[in-house]
């Protein structure tokens, strides 16, 4: 098994290394992509068509089943089938977008922070794909470094700054121009978000024929703007609602400016903020100047959406006359708040589900217990229901009884309360007197201790000094007595030893004499015995 795993890993790495281009900067991806120069030259784009074969969208984004697209007429379509460059979509619904308030409305009517001083208005802009450029103006569709898209971002910045809005613009490069650019631009997005902008936009350009994005507004050629929302974020619903809101405002201010809202697979760093969006400002076949004019008008939409209609008056572009002056103040935040609540609930449910799943995965016994509990649940529920039913059946009778008994109970309770109330002062008095007595005693003891402390301390010091003075003498006496006793003990021991030795010697001598006498007597006895035996 282990060998199989290692073999799998080796095969995976070898396949990746073999398929990867040898020269990363120059080689084109081996798979179809909207940015392949050959495809662009051949005019191969991705098309979305509806049930009747009408073209809804031409884009460089590869479409897949499940992708959704909100057209400029606010018709929502969903891709049901993809065949090569062609995606077939079915109509889902007509979306009703938010309506902006009139020009006479107070700015930022429903904005959450309203103080006496004007709060800081901030919008953040950055570019993940710095290389994106416009062929008619820049001569190429891609420049390794800051491409033409940076000029479009700067035009967006200048248009917002003219209105007094602070713009957090980042021209940070996220090169090389590959798939990892979104990972690298995450750092930029997070850095900008630390400044707490109201919204953050990642500005791109699409890959499509020029007519797909071309528009004439007030006699000027501009490019349309496509809003892209990633569907693989936890808070997609909020980002989507934000995009819909902006389109609703744009449709009233500059009809046709927003090409549509494309809801496709991916994150696009929109997980970092519910108010993060990706903008495709025109295509590589449009001129950069028309894209700059398009994004300048989009700045009107953004400022109006966030900060109210008064910001339109500072604009170079006059506000459209069709906006009613008596429109209701402020804008409805119902849509985005509904999306927010949905996002929060789904996030919490997902986290709870994941935690529970993981817990039961690690504790199979707990799952069995849960299943057992679930099996027994109907019986328990029926039992509880019976108990409740009985309780509810008895409830009227109990209530009636309680109502009848209430006066008696109240009187009894009142009497008991009064009786107990009479005791309370006495209890309090006794408690307080005990407390006072104890306190006074403790205080007196403390005072006495405090008063006697210096005297006791002095006495202790004197005793210590005195004892320290006599201590050497006492030690000397003890040592002398000890040595004298030792001497005495030694002399006694020596005398005892001598005495013992004399006694031992004496005893030995006497024993020897006694032994000799005994031997002589035995010899005599033997001699007498032998003589008697002979006789």
């Amino acid at each position: 098994m282990r060998k199989l795993n290692l073999a799998l890993l080796a095969a995976l790495l070898m396949a990746a290394c073999c398929l990867a281009p040898a020269s990363p900067g120059k080689a084109a991806p081996l798979l179809d992509d909207e940015l392949t120069p050959e495809e662009l030259k051949r005019g191969r784009y991705f098309y979305m068509i509806d049930e009747r074969g009408r073209t809804l969208l031409v884009t460089g984004h590869r479409l897949r089943e499940g992708d959704r697209y909100l057209t400029s007429e606010n018709d929502l379509y969903e891709v049901v089938d993809v065949e090569g460059y062609l995606a077939r979509a079915r109509f889902v619904e007509k979306v009703r977008l938010i309506e902006p308030p009139g020009l006479s409305a107070a700015p930022a009517g429903l904005l959450p922070v309203q103080g006496r001083e004007r709060p800081a208005y901030k919008i953040a802009i950055y570019h993940t794909h710095n290389a994106e450029s416009y062929v008619p103006s820049d001569g190429t569709e891609s420049i390794y470094g800051p491409g033409g898209i940076h000029d479009v971002g700067l035009a967006f910045k200048e248009a917002l700054e003219k209105k007094g809005i602070e713009v957090l613009y980042s021209d940070q490069l996220h090169l090389p121009h590959d798939r990892g650019a979104y990972r690298r631009s995450r750092v930029t997005a997070l850095r900008l978000l630390r400044e707490r902008p109201d919204a953050i936009f990642d500005v791109h350009r699409d890959a499509a024929p020029w007519e797909a994005y071309a528009l004439e507004l007030e006699g000027e050629p501009v490019t349309q703007i496509q809003i892209v929302v990633g569907l693989s974020n936890p808070g997609t619903a909020t980002n989507q609602q934000f995009a819909y809101d902006l389109k609703g405002y744009a449709d009233r201010l500059y009809p046709g400016l927003i090409h549509g809202v494309l809801l496709i697979w991916g994150s696009y760093n929109q997980d970092l903020s519910p108010l993060a969006l990706l903008l495709e400002v025109g295509a590589h076949t449009n001129t950069k100047e028309s894209a700059q004019r398009g994004i300048a008008r989009f700045a009107d939409v953004v400022s109006y959406y966030f900060y109210g209609p008064s910001f339109l008056r500072d604009s170079r572009i006059a506000p459209p006359q069709q906006l009613p002056d008596d429109a209701p103040a402020g804008r409805s935040s119902y849509g985005i708040m509904r999306a927010v609540s949905g996002t929060v609930v789904s996030l919490l449910l997902a986290a709870l589900g994941a935690a529970m799943g993981f817990y039961y995965l690690n504790n199979p016994g707990a799952l069995e217990e849960l299943l057992h509990w679930w099996k027994a649940f109907p019986e328990r529920a029926a039992s509880s229901a019976r108990q409740w039913r009985d309780y509810l059946q008895d409830l009227p009778e109990k209530l009636q009884l309680a109502r009848r008994l209430a006066p008696f109970n109240l009187r009894a309770a009142w009497r008991r309360l009064r009786r107990e109330g009479q005791i309370i002062p006495r209890l309090l008095q006794a408690f307080l007197s005990s407390l006072l007595l104890l306190g006074s005693r403790m205080l007196a003891a403390a005072v006495r201790l405090w008063q006697e402390a210096p005297q006791n301390l002095r006495r202790s010091c004197q005793e210590l000094r005195r004892e320290s003075r006599i201590l050497p003498g006492l030690l000397r006496d003890d040592i002398a007595a000890l040595s004298e006793a030792a001497g005495r003990l030694g002399s006694r021991a020596a005398a005892g030893a001598r005495d013992a030795a004399g006694r031992l010697r004496r005893a030995w001598r006497e024993a020897k004499e006694e032994g000799e006498t005994l031997i002589r007597l035995l010899r005599e006895a033997l001699f007498l015995l032998r003589r008697r035996l002979r006789s």
Binding site: P29, I336, A351
Partner: protein, 211 residues
């Protein structure tokens, strides 16, 4: 201003808290006690807001996003039992970086172009989790692999820019702090290795010896 609207704040806070809890749980699963894991999460969160340390040539290091995670990786490598297990983490990082680098060049530039393929943010995590599992089921290797592969990828992009003559492009290693792709890769990779391993164990009838 608008970003401080209660609803929007709630979404951001709930997302961040869930992520931080996941990070804490992952550190806890890496044989660290709960208190140490909590302190490390707090340090990484705070460290992410500190100014990045310049390393020269436009390269900088964020303490919370890369400094502390790399320290944790070094600690995990040192504490790993056996020579084989010590090698497994760095090997996962190298293999993961090679795989992701290749796929970054190989796959279309926009996520979703091939259908349901992984987002660039989660690709290193999946690579680390998968490789760590194939090399021998190891949460430790998955964590080291996720962070190490992003570290190596950032270094490679910095080196490529330098070689191409773009010496002014700053690259901040772990510049996103605690929410940087490096830690996301470490967390998701570890959870992936854990979930795959646990599910496989349950399906095969019970736990085996844990790595």
């Amino acid at each position: 201003m608008y970003a401080r609207a209660p609803g929007i704040m709630l979404v951001v806070v709930v997302t961040a808290v869930i992520y931080l809890i996941l990070l804490h749980r992952v550190l806890d699963r890496l044989r660290m006690d709960k208190k140490t894991a909590l302190i490390l999460v707090a340090l990484m969160y705070v460290g992410g807001f500190l100014p990045s340390l310049p390393l020269g040539g436009g390269l900088a290091l964020n303490v919370g996003g890369m400094g502390i995670p790399l320290g944790i990786c070094a600690y995990l490598v040192i504490k790993a039992p056996g020579k084989e297990e010590k090698l497994r983490g760095p090997l996962t990082a190298l293999a993961g970086a090679a795989l992701v680098w290749s796929l970054d060049r190989l796959l279309p530039i926009n996520p979703g172009s091939l259908g349901y393929e992984l987002d660039p943010l989660y690709l290193p995590a999946a690579a680390a989790g998968l490789i760590a599992y194939l090399l021998g089921r190891s949460r430790r290797s998955a964590f080291i692999g996720g962070i190490g592969s992003i570290f190596l990828m950032d270094l490679s992009s910095w080196a490529e820019n330098m070689i191409r003559g773009f010496r002014y492009i700053p690259v901040v290693l772990g510049g996103g702090g605690v929410f940087d792709a490096a830690l996301v890769a470490g967390v998701v990779g570890t959870l992936l290795a854990e979930v795959i391993g646990e599910v496989k164990e349950r399906l095969s009838g019970g736990p085996r010896e844990e790595k």
